[in-house]
Subunit: 337 residues, 2 copies
């Protein structure tokens, strides 16, 4: 059963357990500081496929297979699969996951999709609709770059505010088991679309920070809690610029998360020598860091009570060409052990 808390937070009276998680990344991510946290590294950016899109589908296929293997489960054991990605019509997910024959619910929240999927899978498990549900997202630098920006061979110069799309995927399997010692989803806040009028698609952090602030403030209000109640607050891919803007927006409301905040986009690369500018981005950024680094630290007991909030910019190349502003969203989950 699920209960409402305040305006837009839900509490899972029966807390879904994260019984398995897995991550797969590309070679650039393996050069970063989190290398040892990922389950699998693909040094071939094509992942043995003949297009970038199929390479990204392959990431999803591999990460689901790994998560199933770790849980000692088969595809047939999973009741519902929530997945999504950045490609037009979310084809990395549909083509990557079709052979598993799992009842499938496509999600689209841009780079916030991992937490959106986690919320939906938690709702299914906690409500009694499912014993086991999974969520997956991915991104691939090459498929994203050519769809959103320029042909890869063009080699355009990237502004300092831009972010680097992570090549990676993450998968969580949630269960209604009562086993102790597993990470659990306790509460969740669904984001609203926030648009403060940013139009620079090379500064996604600026576009997404207001949505992150909106969700986080609503969460603290709904749950009557404050930053010091949590071991760490992770954001998805605000990057360096977006994180600074989030601090600024929160400080206006008297909230300070600086000492206990990390951004997956900042964590995954070493900016000094990796030329990623403001940090990593893409659906695969939050999902690979969550299912690599973060959940490992929860499982080991290093972190006992955390917030994970993934942010997404809901633009498209078409909307940018039409001079539209960039609406954004942020979804949040509280994970405890």
């Amino acid at each position: 059963m699920i209960k409402r808390m305040g305006d837009s937070t839900v509490m899972f009276s029966i807390m879904p357990r994260i019984v398995s998680y897995a991550s797969v990344v590309g070679k650039k991510e393996a050069d970063g500081p989190l290398k040892d946290d990922f389950d699998k590294i693909s040094y071939d950016m094509h992942m043995g496929q003949d297009t970038w899109e199929k390479a990204e589908s392959q990431l999803q296929k591999e990460v689901l297979s790994l998560a199933l293997e770790k849980a000692n489960k088969n595809a047939g054991d999973i009741d519902f699969l929530f997945a999504g990605d950045l490609l037009n019509q979310c084809i990395s997910s549909s083509y990557g996951l079709k052979d598993f024959s799992i009842p499938y619910l496509g999600q689209y929240g841009a780079c916030s999709t991992m937490v959106q999927g986690l919320i939906m899978a938690s709702v299914m498990v906690s409500s009694g609709a499912s014993h086991l549900s999974a969520c997956i997202t991915s991104s691939h630098f090459c498929s994203a770059e050519r769809q959103y920006r320029f042909p890869l061979d063009y080699g355009g110069q990237r502004p300092q505010s831009s972010q680097w799309t992570v090549t990676g995927a993450g998968c969580c399997i949630l269960s209604d088991t009562k086993s102790e010692g597993l990470p659990m989803v306790k509460t969740a806040t669904v984001g609203r679309i926030v648009d403060l009028g940013v139009t620079d698609q090379n500064n996604m952090g600026a576009a997404m920070a207001p949505a992150a602030a909106d969700t986080l403030l609503r969460y603290f209000r709904d749950t009557s809690s404050s930053p010091s109640d949590y071991d760490m607050i992770y954001t998805g891919d605000l990057g360096k610029i977006g994180s600074e803007l989030l601090y600024e927006l929160l400080s206006k409301e008297g909230v300070d998360i600086k000492g206990r905040h990390k951004d997956c986009g900042v964590m995954i690369f070493n900016d000094e020598d990796m030329d990623v500018h403001s940090g990593g981005s893409g659906c695969g950024c939050c999902s690979s860091v969550l299912c690599g680094h973060i959940l490992k630290n929860v499982s080991s007991g290093n972190l006992k009570n955390i917030l994970v909030m993934a942010t997404g910019a809901l633009l498209s190349p078409t909307s940018i060409q039409q001079s539209e502003t960039i609406p954004s969203i942020a979804h949040l989950v509280n994970i405890v052990i």
Copy 2:
């Protein structure tokens, strides 16, 4: 609370009530046989906007406003909004709905999105996570045509197997009220991705029929029911060709739905004089017919127990250019009064 039935069907022990529904369509749809069922007709294909994409966003805005008005509710009363569309990165939904500030969960199931949203909203309401949730989808002939096929001015000839994207939108508001006499969602089956190798993007009916058969057969098995238990079985946009293929696939399993089946894509246009070939399609096809014609007939008591199954082709122009096959999906709900 929600219970599982068989492999992939869920039963809502607390049945969500559809307290309000609304539909908006374009001028061609208003020339069809269902004209009087729609709440609003826009004879201006631009809906007062300067791009087709913004016109489609306008459809979503109007249909949500209408549904809220009919329910005598404000946007602030809605806990969760599930929406999606066919445009890249689902921009009709994100741009159309951002000003309502409702916690938002973007869905992507191509033309199956309306029923996917209905299932997700039902789960939220039945589980206690929400008092009121809404779902919306839309499509627009002009925004879809130029994204998926040709520039509008090109005037290419359409093969007889092709379908015509409906300009329209539909919205349902679901509630945990116990009021009598309202349409209720009783059970739902989430579709699996099915791909029998069809590659012709001008024959979506053929690509989607196997997914429709898969979901319908699983539903009948999970619920131990048969076609004669229902007043009518509606499909989303299989069109004439897809419907015939569905009959053929079902007959191999000894199931006959012919006498009690209608397809929204066939119902919405008069093919004889409207040049739509195999019928209507698009997310707005099932949603406008459901929220126009079908639910009116349920509310009036003409139909007491129906199945609504929307089908979606999970391709993209990129996947077609890369000679991929077309994976499809079909989601189903049982609506009773």
